[in-house]
Amino acid sequence: MTAEATNIRPSLFQTDARTKRRNAAEKRFRLYGVAAVSFGVLALVVLLSSILGSGLGAFRQTFLTMDITLSAEALDPKGNRDPAEMAKQTTITYGKVLGAALEADLAAKGLATEGLSAKEINGMISKEAPAQLRNMVLADPDLIGQTITFKALANGRIDGFFKGRVTMESAALDSNVSPAQLELALAMRDAGLMGLAFNPGFITAPDASELRPEAAGLGVAILGSAYMMLIVLVLSLPIGVAASIYLEEFAPKNWFTDLIEVNISNLAAVPSIVFGILGLAVFINFAGMPQSSPLVGGLVLTLMTLPTIIIATRAALKAVPPSIKDAALGIGASKTQTIFHHVLPLAMPGILTGTIIGLAQALGETAPLLLIGMVAFVRDYPGVPPEGLLDPAAALPVQVYNFTQRADPAFIERASGAIIVLLVFLLMMNILAIILRRRFERRW
């Protein structure tokens, strides 16, 4: 202090040491700020690109394209085209048909298969493909006797090879796939028998077992999530709006109202897993509702979403100018009429925006659903509501968790792919919310 304070500045055009130091500190401080913002944005970019990078592959799958002659002797020995009779032919029979078709195709293209047993060649086809062929034939018995072009899923390891997950070196150590099979796969790709193509099954098919990552899809999970969102919407919108109207417009200022308000703000911050414990104890153990059902999931998510909707609705109601209320009251409307005829319609865009954001939160919520049994392996699509709401189902985020718990690395790709689907839904909901706000929100 003393040295600098007494130091008489030689010229205004020359910055002294202290000013330099202060300016440097200023610059540094600013830089910290830039660094912090960049760190956040960079983290977002890395996060999204890592998910996209590992997940986009799930939408494309390796298929074997082959011509199959569905011979009546093998598939419908009685020859009466009765699906009940034909159902006696198991997937093993269909597997043999597929194998024979593949061998015929290989021979026709003149691809060498020395050193590969028939079992190894058949092993290149997914174990799910015979079941798909069987379902196709049972659904349309007239196919029997025809020669059809069938796109069979390739085994997960072959698929991994084309996506770079499996290499010749790793295959040499892997008991499930051999380098010779990969060589043949390469030759088949060059001959046009095999290749990557868009895989609609990833969106529509149900989950598949641990050994068939290539067949695993999100159909049941998407349906289950949709059911839950339906329940959340139907329950939380009316209850949330009703509660907000009471608290904002009618409630007298007393201890009871304070109690409700404190409750709501605390519920908004309770960890989500605690809601799962609530669902398990109250809805499943006490009320006896079925485990893993969208109904229980929907109820739990409703309770979680309510605070969000109530907070948004109250803000929207508050934003309606009092002059509108005063005008309605002034020409003789009752309080209820004022609110339901004038305030509520004006607040509706804000309420809907808040609801959509609440729904988006609920859609991505995982932890409470784990506790109410949604982790179960479900292959059957739930039925049509309302009864279907009691059927077991999966949910999109829980499906991601399920995929990550499996050993085969192919499921990591599936998990990332499922996240992409989830993020696309969230993006659409948020865009809808933004559009609603931009188009209908009024500022007074």
Binding site: A36, L44, A243, G288, Y401, L423
Partner: protein
């Protein structure tokens, strides 16, 4: 009658009631509106509300209560001999439910009648095979008493359904007639329907209280249950967590609390400096354009579901930290570690800190800044010596809220932190948290009434109390601060 159909009938009746009520009110005055107390629609509304609301309410309560009552009645039919070794009453009850469902299928497919059922009950040897044919696979042969229990379960369910339909319809009709009978020109229909609506509004806002009560009761009840089976002293003071399927577990909470706090600490070490500097930059330095882009981008981080962060930790951050830090330094070989979970959670928490701090910094009055600039302070000196001290209580509140998020966070730690309950200082080792153990104890196959499962409720209660305390404190500080400049 199925629930969907029943509710449709009630609603249709109520809608008809609206029309009839309106028409009736008008006809009572010979079509002269002026003689009515309220607008005709309100007379219709009272009929609608009195028809629909009590009936649907009773239906909802009935649906909750019926399974409880029936299960206690049927449960009494199953003696202790019917419960096989290694099984439990609840497992036998679930068999009973499945057999009851299977009987319906058998009846539907084979065209049998109730008399054949009695015959089946007399000789139960073939029942398991028949149930297997309709897709109800059972683990063991059906005992006669269990089969009888299933039959009476089925009968009771059917009777219950029938009784419910009758009661609900009767109630709807009674409400319909009652409301119609009240309609006279002098009847204050608007006041009645508005009071009714207001009661509904109050009921809706009670849901929040009910939820809290439900959370607290379910946690406390099961925790008390747990402490009857397992000494509270060991839970609160033991340093080992080692659950065993066959009993004799060590369920000390400290390793879990250690893991939770360690991970939260790392998360806050990431999120607090980044969040606060980002908030300062956005509030004080950034141009309008930069702010318009960067602020929403940071807030996107808050909108991403936690499972996405969990997967990010699992497939990207974990292997990266293991290959480039832990293994070269020789301090760890696992990709799930405290560091992985903490780092990713820190990224998730950035917007929680930055958004709230941003608001609070913006709320500091401009006059304080102007005063500081007037004295010759640079912008950073103003921030450090004037704005931050003024905003400090609010920022502390924001940090506490972020800490409560970190403690209650589940998916990131489930996928990123590992499952080993350890108390170690090495951040590159896998440790576990309270939330991870709640998930793993409640998603396993252990019997519900064992201490290994019930401990999850004690953990949940601990978590709830912890986060609640932090939230209340944070809200108190933020509210206190807000008042300061208003």
């Amino acid at each position: 009658m199925s629930i969907g159909l029943l509710s449709l009938v009630v609603i249709a009746l109520a809608a008809a009631g609206f029309l009839v009520g309106r028409r009736l009110a008008l006809s009572k005055t010979g079509g002269d509106l002026r003689l009515l107390h309220s607008l005709p629609g309100y007379y219709g509304q009272t009929v609608f509300l009195f028809t629909a609301v009590p009936a649907l309410l009773v239906m909802a309560i009935w649906l909750l209560a019926q399974p409880l009552l029936i299960e206690t009645r049927v449960g009494a039919m199953i003696g202790p001999d019917d419960i096989p070794q290694g099984s439990s009453a609840s497992l036998v009850m679930s068999d009973v439910r499945r057999i009851a469902g299977g009987i319906d299928l058998i009846l539907a497919q084979a065209g049998l009648n109730e008399g054949d059922l009695a015959a089946m009950g007399a000789d139960v040897s073939g029942v398991r095979a028949r149930l297997g044919e309709v897709g109800v696979a059972l683990g063991s042969d059906v005992r006669p008493t269990v089969f009888e229990a299933a039959r009476s379960y089925r009968d009771l369910m059917a009777t219950g359904r029938l009784a419910m339909s009758a009661v609900v319809l009767a109630l709807a009709l009674a409400g319909f007639v009652f409301a119609l009978s009240r309609i006279t020109p002098e009847f204050r229909a608007r006041n009645v329907s508005e009071t009714f609506v207001r009661v509904l509004l109050i009921a809706a806002s009670l849901v929040a209280i009910l939820t809290t009560v439900g959370i607290v009761l379910s946690l406390v009840f099961e925790t008390v249950h747990f402490f009857r089976l397992y000494p509270a002293k060991d839970f609160f003071f033991s340093m080992t967590w080692n659950p065993q399927f066959r009993g004799g577990s060590d369920l000390g909470i400290w390793p879990l609390i250690w893991g939770t706090l360690y991970i939260s600490l790392i998360a806050l070490l990431v999120a607090v400096p980044v969040g606060i500097f980002a908030a300062i930059y956005l509030a004080e330095y950034a141009t309008r354009k930069v702010r318009a882009v960067a602020k929403p981008l940071l807030e996107v981080l808050a909108g991403i579901p936690t499972i996405v962060y969990g997967l990010f930790a699992l497939i990207t951050v974990g292997p990266f930290l293991r290959d480039y830090f832990a293994q070269p330094l020789g301090i760890g070989s696992s990709s799930s570690s405290v560091m992985t979970a903490g780092l990713v959670m820190g990224i998730m928490l950035i917007p929680f800190v930055s958004s709230l701090s941003d608001d609070i910094i913006n709320a500091v009055p401009q006059s304080l800044r102007d005063g500081s600039y007037g004295l010759g302070a640079t912008q950073s000196e103003t921030v450090k010596q004037v704005i931050l001290p003024a905003a400090l209580p609010g920022i502390v509140g924001a940090i506490l809220l972020a800490a409560s998020r970190a403690i209650g966070e589940t998916m990131i730690v489930v996928l990123g932190a590992g499952a080993a309950a350890k108390m170690s200082m090495n951040p590159f080792e896998a440790m576990t948290t309270v939330t991870v153990k709640i998930v793993s104890q409640l998603t396993g196959d252990t019997e519900f009434a064992s201490p290994e499962t019930l401990v999850a409720f004690a953990l949940g209660l601990t978590l709830f109390v912890f986060t609640l305390g932090l939230n209340v404190l944070a809200l108190y500080i933020v509210r206190k601060y807000r008042e300061q400049y208003e």
